[in-house]
């Protein structure tokens, strides 16, 4: 009996304590929500009044969520102090707040803060570097990303920068990179992403590196520019390399150029080659495939 009473007392105490914790946690959440609402309301205030309050929130003992919200508001305030504060947080902040401050510099887009990103990139860890590239992307700052691609010694960083340039449709920068650094897998992927058939055509016809040439030929089929089939047929016909021929055929297959494959089929006098081409036509589900099969069976071709 005594033990049961003790147990009941302990249980009651636990229930009361957990209710207290839940209530306290709810109160904290309410406070946080209210602060967030107050932060939102600052957008109605003139910048000169809002700015010191936002900075106070950032420097105060507030949650990261609230501070991240304050950083976003700062990015929307057109004032030199707002930019300076963002840059300060991007330099001295840590963890998610630093990354958010960098993102906000991109959103803010102000030249002075943007100019500070390159130092952050050089000194930062992988997350910071990624955030800086993202900020350049947000601000549509092609030069910033191009400079990183040109100067980095790291293959991974180069690939990241090239991918961002592709996302930005920075055709000129990507062409310059090929000229300066030579062709690469990363560039071919970037040309696919940015629909840059002109560059792919150059690489598809460049026989200095067979592997890259094969990739570029297939990529040309993926991008599927207007006359990509003409280029692919030309490559197919002019090469003695079976690998290149196969790549060109794959390019035609990927690009769904069945008319061109049919033309190659009809022009060929080599039975083995015709068999391969027929297989491709079948895979492509070409409209002419039945006609070709009948011709083959009749021995017309």
């Amino acid at each position: 009996m005594h033990t049961r009473l003790k147990l009941i007392v302990v249980l009651l105490a636990l229930i009361t304590a957990s209710a207290g914790v839940a209530q306290s946690s709810q109160t904290d959440q309410d406070k946080e929500d209210l602060k967030m609402a107050a932060l939102e309301a600052l957008m109605h205030a003139p910048s000169e009044q809002a700015l010191p309050i936002v900075i106070k929130v950032l420097n105060g003992d507030n949650s990261d969520d609230l501070k991240e919200g304050a950083l976003f508001i700062l990015s929307q305030i057109d004032h030199p102090d707002a930019t300076a504060t963002l840059l300060e947080f991007a330099r001295s902040g840590d963890g998610d707040l630093q990354l958010e401050a960098i993102r906000m510099i991109g959103i803010n887009g102000e030249n002075e803060a943007m100019a500070g990103l390159i130092d952050l990139y050089s000194a930062g860890d992988e997350d910071v570097r990624e955030a800086v590239l993202e900020a350049y992307l947000i601000a549509d700052d092609v030069d910033g990303v191009f400079n990183i691609a040109m100067t980095t010694q790291s293959e991974d960083e180069y690939e990241e920068a090239v991918t961002i340039l592709a996302a930005m449709d920075a055709h000129e920068a990507l062409s310059k990179l090929r000229e300066a650094k030579g062709p690469s897998d990363a560039l071919i992927t970037a040309y696919i992403i940015s629909d840059n058939d002109a560059e792919l055509r150059i690489l598809a016809l460049d026989g200095s590196d067979t592997e890259l040439q094969i990739e570029a030929i297939q990529a040309l089929g993926i991008v599927g520019a207007n006359d990509a089939d003409t280029v692919l047929v030309e490559i197919y016909r002019s090469t003695d390399s079976e690998d290149i021929k196969e790549a060109a055929l794959e390019g035609l297959l990927i690009g769904d150029y069945d008319d061109s494959v049919l033309a190659l089929y009809r022009a060929s006098n080599n039975v083995a080659e015709k068999r391969d081409l027929l297989e491709v036509l079948v895979v492509m589900d070409s409209d002419s495939v039945m006609e070709v099969i009948e011709e083959a069976l009749a021995g017309d071709q």
Binding site: E40, M43, G69, G109, T163, M168, D169, I193
Partner: protein
């Protein structure tokens, strides 16, 4: 970008030539038209060509199709071309440096729709969430381009900044708590942008 995002972007890119389903286009145009209706009778300028390719995650346009919507398009009709609404993309040179009202209102509708979609987004079912997020990205891209064409670089930057967050939200491997954090962040930023746009619109109205 992590592997998941890269894979997603790659898939989007491969599928970018798939036509956009008519019902999806209709939804865009409906939302834009709602906002622009008032101005229609006052100003109607010819639509400028809208380049809707490029930008790899912008190719989310086609991703939605990859994810399933495309099946509907394939079954229901032939290819159609995305055309920008002329109220959204207009020639800023005739508006003496101001952001056109129709564009602003269209953007407000987009931001509000996004806000609602984010709020009602399923957290646990990855496929539904991914599909919805890709649709949001698709619309976001439209307005980002429109902002660029309307010389609203500041708005274009904010819209561009939403995309990496949306992409993270669309990823298959995101934890529910992380997804919730991203939703909260987006909800806050959307709200701020709406407030800012409303404030600016209100100022313009008062000054005229």
């Amino acid at each position: 970008m992590n592997d998941d995002e890269q894979k997603l972007c790659h898939e989007l890119d491969l599928a970018r030539e798939i036509p956009v389903p008519a019902d999806m286009q209709r939804r865009w145009h409906d939302s834009i038209d709602r906002a622009a209706q008032q101005e229609y009778s006052v100003r109607q300028e010819p639509a400028r060509p809208f380049h809707f390719t490029s930008f790899f995650w912008g190719a989310a346009v086609t991703a939605a199709l990859v994810a399933g919507i495309g099946i509907g398009a394939y079954l229901t009709g032939g290819p159609t071309t995305i055309q920008p609404n002329s109220y959204v993309v207009q020639d800023i040179s005739t508006v003496s440096g101001a952001v056109p009202g129709a564009f602003t209102r269209g953007l407000q509708v987009h931001l509000r729709d996004t806000q609602q979609n984010i709020a009602s987004m399923p957290i646990d079912t990855t496929e539904d969430r991914t599909l919805l997020v890709l649709q949001i990205i698709q619309q976001n891209r439209l307005f980002e381009r429109a902002a660029e064409q309307n010389s609203s670089d500041d708005l274009a930057r904010v819209l561009r900044a939403f995309e990496p967050i949306l992409l993270r939200l669309a990823a298959n491997d995101i934890a529910p708590t992380d997804a919730q954090a991203l939703r909260d962040q987006l909800a806050f930023e959307l709200k701020i942008m709406l407030t800012k746009l409303e404030r600016d619109t209100s100022k313009d109205t008062q000054s005229t």
